[in-house]
């Protein structure tokens, strides 16, 4: 078996605040293999975002070790290994969709020609071809979110970190984007770490579901999904699906009860 893409050993992270220390992560160990789609689920404030931020070198753990592609998160960041998608689309209102997607490319010094080539390709991938010249506020919330995913895909990051990317969208749009995300993942073979609050979403998308408990944030359960790679939306009404969902819910409820 190849080395894991992300390997966390016994991670600790304590924030120093005015009200005293906050233990956001405690003894977190997890391996993510290449091509995995890992969902993180857990009650609010349990440290999901923090864990993702540690992976992306946006936060320094206060204990334990973590490697990404075999090197430190900082080196991985310098090597531009990450595409990070935040909860809100976070597009720049003063840039067109095309310009928004090419922003990381500009920063990374791609040539003009390559920029436009890549922008066209990823906008196509998220079905936004033809919207290059629009401004973000001229698009619906779902389209904005797809643009922000396109932005994270524009450069060749191996690892896609997604922090509740669909949290603000309505159920129908969300279903649709979930389907598309799965297709995309299948096509690009990226490794994805995905934070969500929704049990069906986690179960529908993932190859591996990580259930976390509230402060201090700990991993209470890691569930490998028995679902096939090919997942029509109806799969959510299948007994396998409901069983996994049930297990996730139980894990969550147990966490809530302790907290």
């Amino acid at each position: 078996m190849p080395d894991p893409v992300i390997s966390a050993q016994n991670l600790d992270l304590t924030f120093q605040t005015n009200d005293g220390p906050v233990h956001a992560l405690k003894g977190v160990s997890l391996d993510i293999e290449k091509g995995d789609f890992v969902s993180f689920i857990g009650p609010s404030g349990c440290g999901k975002t923090t864990f993702l931020r540690v992976m992306a070198d946006l936060e320094q753990p206060t204990g334990g070790t973590i490697t990404v592609n075999g090197v430190s998160p900082e080196e991985a960041r310098m090597a531009r290994a990450y595409g990070y998608v935040f909860q809100a689309a976070g597009l720049y209102p003063w840039r067109t969709i095309g310009k928004n997607v090419s922003l990381p490319l500009e920063i990374m010094g791609y040539s003009k020609a390559e920029q436009s080539e890549r922008v066209a390709r990823v906008l196509d991938l998220v079905e936004l071809a033809g919207f290059e010249k629009k401004f973000p506020w001229q698009l619906s919330g779902g389209m904005q979110q797809r643009a922000s995913i396109a932005r994270a895909l524009a450069f060749d990051a191996d690892i896609l970190l997604m922090d509740e990317p669909f949290g603000a969208l309505d159920e129908i749009v969300r279903d649709h984007l979930n389907e598309q995300l799965l297709h995309l993942w299948a096509r690009t073979e990226k490794t994805i770490a995905f934070v969500t609050h929704s049990i069906p979403e986690a179960v529908y998308l993932s190859t591996k579901i990580v259930v976390m408990s509230p402060r201090p944030g700990r991993i209470t359960d890691v569930i490998d999904s028995p679902l096939p790679k090919e997942r029509p939306l109806d799969i959510r009404e299948s007994p396998e699906f409901l069983e996994v969902a049930h297990r996730v819910r139980e894990g969550l409820r147990a966490g809530h009860a302790d907290g």
Binding site: R53, A56, D57, L58, R77, M78, R80, Y82, G83, Y84, F86, Q87, A88, G90, Y92, P93, W94, R95, T96, L103, P104, E106, I107, M108, F135, P136, W137, F155, L161
Partner: protein
């Protein structure tokens, strides 16, 4: 345009009050003259007199209007008696001071946003600086600058700058800090350097704040330029005009210079508003 009717109503009300106030304020002098001349004033004569005095306590609107007309349209704009010429003198100092103040304000704001030491130690003094009555200092500033060989437009512009940099600092600090943590983190995940973050994120994000401050700043600049004109020898400019009017008790001249100054300020603010609209529309932010 929705505001047209209400604005006109309010303006009409102001003119009515103005005319009444002119009667009330100028009546004593009319009576004083009448008693010394030993005549009785009828109500009509009184009103007519109060609206037509040479040096009234409060000139009637039409007197001011006539004065403005005479000194703008009727005079060659190169004439020293033309209000347009004086406005231009003040405007040039205003614009220079405004440019300097905006520059200084942005520089300070960048320093404050990027440097904790500056943030914590300089910011309180920026506020204190505005509690110093610059008008009291103006004559000294002019003299001291003169002593180091700076004269002409620049000393006036410096006072203008002192008044206009403050709103720009405050607004730009807010604006440069307006990107959310998330947007800054995003830059970090792309491994963007400080200058890329500044030019591509912080600066564009600060534009609406900048324009709001510029509107306040330009009005402050104009006040600064006018104040700066007093101690430069009351030679030329709206400030000199105000002063000369005040020195000779020419209230009509004072009021016309005042109205002109307010109109100039309104014009400058409107121009900035226009640039803002064009600019933000082109940036897709309006």
């Amino acid at each position: 345009m929705r505001n047209l009717v209400p604005v006109l109503t309010v303006v009409a009300a102001i003119f009515a009050i103005w005319y009444l106030a002119a009667i009330w304020l100028n009546a004593p002098w009319a009576y004083d003259k009448a008693t010394r001349a030993g005549v009785e004033l009828s109500a009509v004569e009184l009103v007519a007199d109060t609206w037509a005095q040479d040096k009234p306590k409060l000139p009637a609107p039409h007197q001011v209007a006539v004065e403005i007309w005479d000194t703008t349209v009727e005079k060659k704009i190169t004439s020293k008696r033309s209000l347009v010429w004086h406005s231009w003198v003040t405007l040039s100092a205003t614009l220079l001071g405004f440019a300097l103040g905006t520059g200084l304000g942005i520089l300070l704001a960048v320093g404050i946003v990027y440097n904790t030491v500056m943030d914590r130690s300089v910011m309180p003094w920026v506020i204190t600086s505005q509690t110093i009555p610059i008008l009291a200092l103006a004559p000294m500033i002019i003299v001291v600058l003169n002593a180091v060989g700076i004269s002409g437009l620049l000393p006036k512009a410096m006072i203008s700058m002192y008044l206009s940099f403050f709103p720009v600092v405050v607004g730009m600090v807010k604006g440069l800090r307006s990107p959310e943590v998330m947007q800054l983190d995003q830059m970090r995940t792309w491994n963007a350097n400080a200058s890329q973050t500044f030019w591509r994120l912080r600066l564009p994000a600060s534009m609406p704040y900048l324009f709001a401050s510029l509107k306040v700043g330009v009005a402050a600049s104009l006040v600064g330029a006018i104040v700066g004109e007093l101690p430069t020898g009351a030679v030329a400019g709206l400030g000199a005009r105000l002063l000369a009017g005040s020195y000779y008790g020419q209230t009509i001249q004072i009021w016309s210079a005042l109205i002109m100054a307010a109109a100039l300020a309104a014009l400058l603010v409107a121009i900035i508003g226009l640039i803002e609209r064009i600019m933000l529309a082109r940036m897709g932010m309006a």
